[in-house]
Every structure is written in structure tokens, then in C-alpha cells.
């Protein structure tokens, strides 16, 4: 669910580094260059890119479309084609029968079977529409943090890769150690102690 849902899940990141000026133009450029494009009749099983927060299906990034107050708000879209296993079994069985009868022999090698399967998958990928999944992204540039509204591991990894590719900046996931190390203002002595910390046993 997106950020306006009544209940949200937030993964948090720190953004390492700064963009060159003009900031808004460069962010718009990064979003546009990696915007999602529609999958037509293709054999690809997945496509990943940015889209607009308020219009997920027609990405168009001009200089102000992603600015909301002090935040940059946009969305990550992952379009995936997923073929049900039963459909693959059905089409593979038909294709193998056809192959055997065309050649007039019962036996087919493992290599032939593998090639038939690839052809069947390609044909199915061409015919099937991709299912889009949209995850909202909020970037607070001045405070160097980013919220990603999903806890899915795969979606978080797609975000980290695409963000780096689009803006040349690294996202550092915030979790107990990185929050302690980067976000709560520890001094050098405390950060040194943090690295040496070992678990406490509360067991009686």
C-alpha cells in the first residue's frame, strides 16, 4: 500500500552524497532517464523504473512534478510477467507432442526438451501482460533521508540499484547499527565502543 494508505510500512535509508546543481533539473533528469516504459510483446519477464506518485501509469517528470513541500515524492514501479506453473506444463506438453509427431519418433533428448521449453516460455512471455507493482518513495534531500513504503526484500533491492543508477548516490539502509553510527550524534569514543559491543544476557 502507498504512503496515503491508512496503515503504512516504512523502510528507511540515509542518502550518502549530494547532487550537483541545478538540483531539481538533475533529479528530473535522473527520474526521466530511468522512467518505466511499457512492456509490449516482449520476451522480458521484468521491467523496473520510476513513475509519478499521482499517475503511476503515465510517467512524465518535469521540474516540479515530484516536489511536494520539502520532499521529493515519486514511485518505483516493477512490472513482472508471471506465468502460472500449470500453464507452462500444459503448453510444454502440447509442444513436445507436436515435436515428436513432426519427427515421427518417441525419444527426444534433454537438450531438445530444454530448447522446446525455452521456446514455449518465450511464446508465453510475448502473449502475457505484465502485472505492475508500485512502491512510493519519499526523499528529504536536505536531511539526507529517504522513506520507501515497502518491506519486501526484492523491492528494496530494486530501489537501491535503481537509485544508484539514476542519481549516482548510495542508499544506506537504516537498521540498529547504522542508526546508532550515523543518526543519533554519538561521539568518536561512543562509536568506538559501539563497534566493540557484545550481546547482554538478561537470563536469570
Amino acid at each position: 500500500m502507498g504512503l496515503l494508505a491508512s496503515s503504512v510500512t516504512v523502510s528507511r535509508y540515509r542518502v550518502d552524497g549530494r547532487m550537483e546543481d541545478p538540483l531539481l533539473d538533475n533529479i528530473a533528469k535522473g527520474l526521466s532517464q530511468q522512467r518505466i516504459t511499457e512492456m509490449e510483446a516482449e520476451v522480458d519477464d521484468k521491467r523496473v523504473g520510476w513513475t509519478n506518485f499521482s499517475n503511476n501509469y503515465k510517467p512524465d517528470f518535469d521540474a516540479s512534478s515530484f516536489v511536494m513541500g520539502e520532499y521529493f515524492v515519486f514511485s518505483l514501479r516493477v512490472d513482472k510477467k508471471k506465468i502460472p506453473a500449470a500453464l507452462i506444463r500444459q503448453h510444454l506438453s502440447i509442444a513436445i507432442d507436436r515435436y515428436r509427431s513432426e519427427r515421427g519418433r518417441e525419444f527426444i533428448s534433454r537438450g531438445e526438451k530444454s530448447q522446446i521449453k525455452e521456446e514455449v516460455l518465450n511464446a508465453l512471455y510475448m502473449r502475457l501482460p505484465a502485472v505492475p507493482a508500485v512502491f512510493d518513495v519519499v526523499w528529504q534531500y536536505e536531511k539526507k533521508f529517504l522513506f520507501f513504503f515497502s518491506s519486501q526484500k526484492a523491492a528494496n533491492e530494486e530501489l537501491e540499484n535503481l537509485f544508484n543508477k539514476s542519481f549516482g548516490l548510495q542508499l544506506i539502509r537504516l537498521f540498529p547499527f547504522s542508526i546508532a553510527d550515523l543518526s543519533i550524534g554519538l561521539d568518536d569514543r561512543q562509536r568506538d565502543l559501539l563497534q566493540k559491543t557484545t550481546p547482554t544476557l538478561f537470563r536469570i
Binding site: S6, S11, R12, F53, P176, T200
Partner: protein, 186 residues
């Protein structure tokens, strides 16, 4: 920091998040009896502004790596089972919380290992009826999300400073063990 470093640090120090949630439960429970329950650091002994929600998960990992998990659910859940698990060496790994700031209330679930916030319900925001309402609604929602997350970070900061100070071994850990012993046997 490379992605490999991040992954290594994530796993190596996930106990910090579990200790934090266990400490939060102790602080919330002892705060009912005393406003200054437990040790204070940096002059911080203000009310936490937190109450335990309707779900908590505890895990006990044996030396052989076998994980025993206990989930306590429901608004009036008995917490005795959780306290007994703490006695046996378990830590809180996930906790549903209510954050109260002034008249406003947030609900959220905090995962110890990642400090990821799930099921975050902010105070009611204005309804979006037209396209031009979206920007205002987003800004309001993010402002409210930030307040809750900031509160969690403040508490984690307080915990970490105590955790890294001599107070942790001298006062806080013995107090927590006393609390576990006393409460679990009541």
C-alpha cells in the same frame, strides 16, 4: 560503506535491536510504578509516551541455533508467558506500540533486527477528494510519519547512550534482571 559491509553489520549487530525492544518493555512496565524507573542518562527521565500494543514476539535462540518463537496477541494479552521466556534467555524481537504525543496517537509495529516500522497508523489526515488535495495530504501524512519515527529514534538514541555507558552494566542490566525475576514470579 559497501553493500557487503552493510549486510555484515546488519547481521552482526541485530542483537542491539532485540535488546532495545526488551529494554523498552522494561521501561514501559516500570514507568507505571515510577516515573524515573530504571537508570537515566543525559538527564532523560521524561515519560516515554509509549504503551504496549496488542502484539509482541519473543525469540530464544539456543547455542545450536534453534529458534523458539513466542507470539503474544490481543488487547488484554497476558504477558506472563513473555516474562517467563525472558527468564529463559529470550529477547523481544517485534513489538506493537502506541505512541502518545499530546492529544494525538500513533500505532506501529517495530521489528528489532531492522527497526523497520510496519502497520504505522498516524492520527487522521484530511481526505483526498480532488487531484489538487494530494500534495497537501502527502505533506501532512509525511509530517505525521516523521514525528513517530523521530520519537522511535530518540528512544533508540537514549537506549544506545545508556547501553554504551558504564550505567548499562552497573545499574540498568541488574534492574532489568530484577524486573524479570520479580514480575515473572508474581
Amino acid at each position: 560503506m559497501t553493500q557487503q559491509d552493510i549486510s555484515l553489520l546488519y547481521h552482526r549487530y541485530q542483537f542491539l535491536g532485540h535488546e532495545f525492544l526488551t529494554w523498552l518493555w522494561y521501561r514501559m512496565d516500570t514507568e507505571k510504578d515510577s516515573r524515573t524507573g530504571g537508570a537515566a542518562a543525559d538527564g532523560e527521565d521524561a515519560p516515554l509516551g509509549l504503551t504496549l500494543g496488542n502484539r509482541m514476539v519473543l525469540e530464544n535462540r539456543s547455542r545450536e541455533g534453534v529458534v523458539e518463537s513466542i507470539t503474544i496477541r490481543g488487547d488484554d494479552a497476558g504477558l506472563e508467558e513473555g516474562l517467563l521466556a525472558l527468564r529463559k534467555g529470550a529477547y523481544v524481537t517485534e513489538m506493537n506500540l502506541q505512541v502518545q504525543i499530546g492529544e494525538q496517537q500513533w500505532r506501529l509495529t517495530l521489528k528489532g533486527e531492522s527497526l523497520m516500522v510496519g502497520g504505522l497508523k498516524t492520527p487522521q489526515t484530511a481526505k483526498v477528494e480532488q487531484q489538487q488535495d494530494i500534495s497537501g495530504a502527502v505533506i501532512e501524512k509525511l509530517f505525521l510519519c516523521e514525528i513517530a519515527l523521530q520519537r522511535i529514534d530518540e528512544l533508540f538514541g537514549l537506549f544506545t547512550r545508556i547501553r554504551l555507558s558504564p550505567l548499562w552494566d552497573q545499574t540498568e542490566t541488574p534492574s532489568m534482571r530484577n524486573w524479570i525475576e520479580k514480575t515473572a514470579t508474581q
